[in-house]
């Protein structure tokens, strides 16, 4: 694997390095749902590079936004991003948390949604009317990730992690997680 060292970044333009950083971030997994990278999940909002004066080093600032405010996976993701960049020779790393605009499942990549389904978790539907506080709403139709049937039922709005709801398929009986819209 090509290792970018302080010296080898010297001749690269900032756009090349930026591209390289996004590639590195693609390899950083969500610890709870490891088939998703932090890019698939949409938590990395932007990367900024600043050349450190009188040196060939670049300072890397990665802007991340939390999925759920209390999600313990966020701390792990921040640490993993730092570790991945350190391993590739970047030493001057700042990770900045931004809260607004708030993360939404609409930012999850299409590839990420396919990976989720293959992993057995139904990916989030596009954000719609579900995000209102009204009680006993008509539930959206959520497909079973195993047999694709829409004949499913909500077991609990809150599932194994903050981001998931618990469903069961009425046809194949598979209990499954739904990455709920947010």
């Amino acid at each position: 694997m090509e290792i970018i060292t302080k010296n080898s970044t010297a001749n690269n333009t900032s756009s090349e390095i930026n591209k390289r950083i996004w590639e590195i971030l693609e390899t950083v997994p969500d610890p709870e749902v490891p088939v998703l990278s932090v890019i698939d999940l949409g938590v990395v909002r932007k990367v900024e590079l600043t050349q450190v004066p009188t040196s060939t080093c670049w300072q890397v600032e990665v802007f991340v936004t939390p999925t759920y405010t209390g999600c313990p996976a966020m701390d792990v993701m921040k640490m993993s991003i730092r570790m991945a960049l350190l391993q590739q020779g970047f030493t001057d790393i700042i990770i900045t948390q931004v809260l607004s605009p708030a993360w939404t499942t609409d930012w999850m990549s299409d590839i990420g949604k396919q990976k989720l389904k293959a992993y057995g978790i139904t990916p989030p539907q596009y954000k719609q009317a579900v995000c209102t506080p009204d009680s006993f709403q008509q539930e959206e139709a959520i497909p079973c990730p195993l047999c694709n049937s829409y004949n499913t039922r909500l077991v609990s709005q809150f599932g194994s992690t903050a981001c998931k709801a618990l469903y069961q398929c009425n046809d194949c009986k598979e209990p499954f997680d739904y990455f709920k819209c947010h």
Partner: protein, 252 residues
């Protein structure tokens, strides 16, 4: 600086509300009536700890002097806490916990809707983020209030008791503390009278569906926001703060 201290107090009030109700909800972990609802209330507790962290981190940044989110949560005493009395009350039975959640989540829902427009960008950002989670809390707690209120003879009786127990603690949410009054005049705080009608209307409609009648008692408890707490908060802090006080700086 008067203004900065007020912003800190205002932020701490929001943080303390979230931390204490989050802690109370976490007491249900492993004790919920059924597994799915045990998970639900523990998830809600986690959302609150997240909210509390955001507010404490901001308060710590404003305060400087080596304050951290942990020092604010673990090393302040009862009189420094600015949470409403409602959130520190013991959980009671499941009905009482559900009803408190419904009262408080509905309050937070309308409150954060407004706070999103705060002149303080960080408070606005935290509110925008939290509102998404609170929306789920309102749905969940109102559905349970309806199921239990309009449920069996026993669930109904328990909900009626819960209403009696909690109602006099609901007024404090809308009574301005000094730092709230100043926060409104400085443009970053919420005028509580502006959300009271929305809260009343939502409670009324859910109570109707739950076949519960609204109490007519007008007398309300108060004091928590200004640091005058019930005896319960000391026990909450005793449990929550023990480790950091006995082993300062301990980490996982």
């Amino acid at each position: 600086m008067m203004t900065k201290q007020n912003l800190i107090d205002y932020t701490l009030h929001l943080a303390d509300n979230a931390l204490i109700i989050g802690h109370r909800n976490s007491e249900w972990c492993g004790h919920g009536p059924i597994l799915e609802q045990d998970i639900a209330i523990s998830n809600i507790a986690l959302d609150y700890i997240g909210q509390a962290r955001n507010f404490y981190q901001y308060a710590a940044q404003l305060q400087g002097n080596a304050a951290t989110e942990d020092s604010l949560a673990y090393l302040r005493d009862v009189v420094d806490f600015k949470n409403c009395l409602l959130v520190e009350l013991p959980n009671g039975d499941w009905g009482q916990t559900i009803l408190r959640q419904f009262f408080f989540s509905t309050y937070q829902y309308f409150f954060f809707q407004q706070l999103q427009n705060s002149l303080d960008e960080q408070l606005a950002a935290i509110a925008e983020k939290a509102l998404k989670e609170v929306t789920y809390h309102v749905r969940w707690s109102s559905e349970w209030a309806i199921r239990l209120g309009d449920g069996t003879e026993e669930s109904k009786q328990r909900m009626l008791l819960a209403v009696d127990e909690l109602w006099s603690y609901t007024g404090e949410m809308f009574q301005e503390a000094g730092y709230e009054r100043l926060a409104v005049s400085e443009g970053y705080g919420i005028d509580l009278t502006s959300i009271k009608n929305s809260w009343d209307a939502k409670i009324k409609s859910v109570f109707e569906e739950a076949t519960l009648s609204l109490p007519t008692v007008a007398w309300m408890q108060s004091g928590g926001k200004e640091g005058q707490h019930s005896e319960h908060l000391g026990f909450v802090l005793g449990e929550m703060q023990f480790l950091q006080r006995a082993n300062p700086g301990a980490e996982w």
